[in-house]
C-alpha cells in the first residue's frame, strides 16, 4: 500500500513565523497535492505538482508556496503565518490517470 507521511500531526506557530509542512510518499507517484480542510468549507486545493520542480496553483494559493525538489517530497511553506491559516492541512499523492488520491494523516496547524 502507498504511504503518505506528513512530518507533524500537530503544530503551534506564532503569527509571522515561516512554517514548513513536509510530505513524503513512497510509491513513486507523479502527482502530489496540498489541501486544507475547514469546517463547512470542505477540502480546498492550495497547490499541486505533477512532476519534480513543477507546481501549479490551486484554488487558494495566497500566503502559501511549495517546493518539490525530489519526486517523493512535496513541501508546503507558509511565508508569514497568520491566524486565518489555522487549519487541518492534508497532503495527497496519486499516480497519473483516473485514480483516487492517497492522503496523509494530516497536520493540525494552529497559528497564535
Amino acid at each position: 500500500d502507498v504511504k503518505v507521511t506528513q512530518s507533524s500531526r500537530y503544530l503551534v506557530k506564532r503569527t509571522g513565523e515561516k512554517v514548513f509542512l513536509e510530505c513524503v510518499q513512497d510509491m513513486d507517484h507523479e502527482n502530489m497535492f496540498w489541501y486544507r480542510q475547514d469546517p463547512g468549507l470542505g477540502l480546498r486545493l492550495i497547490y499541486f505538482s505533477y512532476d519534480v520542480k513543477m507546481k501549479e496553483k490551486g484554488d487558494i494559493p495566497e500566503g502559501y508556496s511549495v517546493s518539490r525538489e525530489k519526486k517523493e517530497r512535496f513541501s508546503l511553506i507558509l511565508e508569514s503565518a497568520s491566524t486565518n491559516q489555522t487549519s487541518m492541512y492534508l497532503c495527497a499523492s496519486m499516480k497519473t490517470g483516473p485514480y483516487g488520491y492517497t492522503f496523509g494523516s494530516g497536520t493540525r496547524l494552529t497559528v497564535v
Partner: protein, 113 residues
C-alpha cells in the same frame, strides 16, 4: 462558485438501516467521481469511485449511483454500522486533465446504535 455540493451537512441513521448521502455537481465536464470517508484527526480514506460511463458501482455495503442528466451522485450504505460514523466527502475530476479533484463540503454521518 462551489462546483461540487453536498447540501446536507449532517445525517443521522439507525444502525442496520440504509444511509443515503447525496452530492450534486455543476460542471458537465466532470467524468470521474470519488467518495472518501474521514474520521477526526485522520486523513480521508478512499471508499468507492465511479466513472461517467457507468451509472452504478458496488463494493460490499457501499454503492454509488450516478445520474449524469441530473448531475447528481449518491452513496448508499447498507446496512449502516456505528463504525460508519464519519464525515463523507464526494469529489469530482475531469479525466484526461491534471486529475485534480474538487471536493464537496462533506456530510457528517452518525449511525445510532
Amino acid at each position: 462558485d462551489q462546483q461540487v455540493k453536498q447540501n446536507s451537512p449532517s445525517l443521522s441513521v439507525q444502525e442496520g438501516r440504509i444511509s443515503i448521502l447525496n452530492c450534486d455537481y455543476t460542471n458537465s465536464m466532470f467524468d470521474y467521481f470519488l467518495w472518501y470517508k474521514k474520521y477526526p484527526a485522520e486523513g480521508p480514506t478512499f471508499l468507492i469511485s465511479i466513472s461517467s460511463i457507468k451509472d452504478k458501482n458496488e463494493d460490499g455495503r457501499f454503492t454509488v449511483f450516478l445520474n449524469k442528466s441530473a448531475k447528481h451522485l449518491s452513496l448508499h450504505i447498507v446496512p449502516s454500522q456505528p463504525g460508519d460514523s464519519a464525515v463523507y466527502f464526494c469529489a469530482a475530476s475531469v479525466a484526461g486533465g491534471t486529475y485534480k479533484y474538487i471536493f464537496g463540503t462533506g456530510t457528517r454521518l452518525k449511525v445510532l446504535a
